[in-house]
Subunit: 354 residues, 2 copies
């Protein structure tokens, strides 16, 4: 018998909670029968759902937790009230203890990141964690990080993000040497933040074995899939991600309005329904759901709080892929390459020469 | 006879140059016969075009310039080679000297901003200029600034941008008290950059007479038209703008692909052609063309370098509107309100209490 993949779930996270998480687990389990779940949540709400989804019940261990972290809890508040006792914390701690290979939560991002940092700690030689998003592009998918774990990043941290994102691209896309770009404004070397320029110079000079540095990219290059991995600090990254989501929603609205405007356009819509279905699928945020917390001693996947069961299942699929494709090992390998090459010192020393 | 509106044009700016600028001027002139142009450029290229567009010729004064600023010139290089002598410089200087009420150029943004700053200088009590973009939203249009004039902004500069953008909204949209939001990640007060938080607190406390501060907005709120004016520093603002453009292009590509996929969808497209026309118009970057340089002693409008004659005409329309609606006076009024109220000192003092 093949080894199973143990995944811990915070059943209480998300706008809905267990009524999305358990059906989502069922969908993912059908696709990946070798998953075993460790489910954390309020017994009174989760147990009846497990009875309704016996496939999940039979493939999981359930643990009752008294506390659920509210979707609007501030990170500090969540830590104070939910440390050790909440379903969110317990799901993360299962990763720390080695019982789970990865944790999934649709709980609030700030609280989940604060607890993940507190419980798992950052990896040796990594200053700060990052949230990596999977961005649908004209050419397929790219990884964009950081999309909001921390604000600001110096050259060293941007290089760390490049390594973390590169390892994730190797795991997720199966590319041997993913292409990496630094998000900047203008592609000429003269523009942009000092830290971005320094990071660019260093990435070019050190030519890491497992990624290809492609230089600066701009906001409109992300959607064109110009590079496999887009690296930026968390403020701009979060704004880029949200802006793209908002623009997609806005254009979807225009399209609906245009198609309902006249009899002719309604007839046209009837004929082209299949094509619109394909389009809707391309734009469905549920299809690509899951932010990956990188740089910690363990992997945590953040599902969108508003995801439905299908969307939550996509986050579990992502968690499964990350374990199957040995993301953690790949990150460790890449960090060893980086630090053995003495590149870490070069980056650290660069702080003075801005 | 009504007074004419004098507008200076850098005929050599843009990917094409005078072959777009002069036909663009013709289109705008038909719409606004009270414009008078001051046109700067290479005589050998511009003269024949003026003969081909006699309406523009008759409404303009032409001045030959030896130097044209290259589209890929670095700002410092452009200043060194093009100061005083280039068509770009001359168009800006016409504003400084009072011969033109506003300048329009499709030349490269970095060079145009560097020359504008050098020639016009920032207004009293304004540290840094900003580039304001007009952003099409689900509800109409919003103003977003800064989209790339400078990188980073402290609380005082963000407040300056709020005042500049508010005045522009009053001029452009005719709203008495435009709503203003600060771009941030997460709407809770606890998150985000210190400077953004400080600016938010001050804007709330001082309740300026000519704008309504609405708090933080996120990337996806921009396209929904949540506020009339979105304030941010230039790095994140530029990335947001480019990302939205890239996403619109990407979805346009999906849509074309979907409509050409099957016979049924092609038939559907034939019926819905009119509706797609409306949609295309909504997404046409030519329709909303022109970044407004704010905070200088004079207004400069940057047209997109790749704009066609119709797009360039839109930038001239914008320039015309800004003069007609007395943008400069409105900015001055708002700055007087702000500084008379002693708010400037409050903001300056806040720098210590982050």
């Amino acid at each position: 018998m093949a080894t199973s993949i143990p995944i811990s779930l915070d059943a209480m996270g998300g706008d809905v909670g267990p009524e999305v998480v358990i059906p989502g687990a069922e969908i993912a389990l059908v696709r990946h029968p070798d998953i075993r779940f460790l489910i954390y949540g309020e017994e009174a709400r989760v147990r009846p759902l497990l009875e309704a989804y016996p496939r999940v019940r039979d493939a999981s261990e359930f643990h009752h937790c008294d506390v659920s972290v509210a979707m609007d809890a501030k990170p500090s508040q969540a830590l104070r009230q939910g440390r050790r006792r909440s379903s969110m914390w317990q799901a993360i701690e299962a990763v720390k203890g080695g019982n789970a290979a990865v944790a999934v939560s649709a709980g609030n991002t700030g609280a989940l990141m604060a607890m993940s940092k507190f419980c798992l700690r950052t990896m040796a030689n990594i200053d700060r964690p990052a949230i990596a998003a999977i961005w649908p592009t004209s050419r397929g998918e790219s990884i964009v990080l950081d999309v909001g774990a921390t604000i600001g990043a110096d050259a060293q941290q941007l290089i760390d993000f490049a390594i973390l994102g590169g390892a994730m691209a190797r795991a997720l896309f199966g590319i041997e040497k993913p292409s990496v770009g630094l998000l900047n404004i203008g592609v000429e070397e003269v523009k942009g933040l000092e830290d971005v320029r320094t990071a660019g110079r260093l990435l070019r000079d050190m030519s890491l074995p497992n990624l290809t540095y492609k230089g600066f990219v701009e906001g409109d290059d992300i959607g064109q899939g110009a590079v496999d991995v887009v690296v930026t600090e968390g403020f701009a990254g979060n704004i880029a991600l949200k802006t793209a989501e908002g623009t997609a929603k806005q254009i979807g609205g225009y399209l609906r309005e245009a198609m309902g405007r006249t009899l002719m356009s309604k007839i046209g819509y009837m004929f082209a329904k299949g094509a619109f279905g394909v389009l809707r699928e391309k734009l469905d945020p549920n299809k690509v759901n899951g932010g990956v917390f990188l740089g910690l001693n363990g992997i945590v996947i953040k599902s969108h709080g508003g995801a439905d069961a299908e969307g939550y299942a996509a986050a579990i699929d992502l968690a499964y892929d990350m374990v199957k494709n040995q993301l953690t090992d790949k990150i460790s390998q890449d960090l060893v390459h980086y630090h053995r090459g003495g590149f870490g010192e070069a980056a650290a020393n660069s702080k003075g020469d801005k």
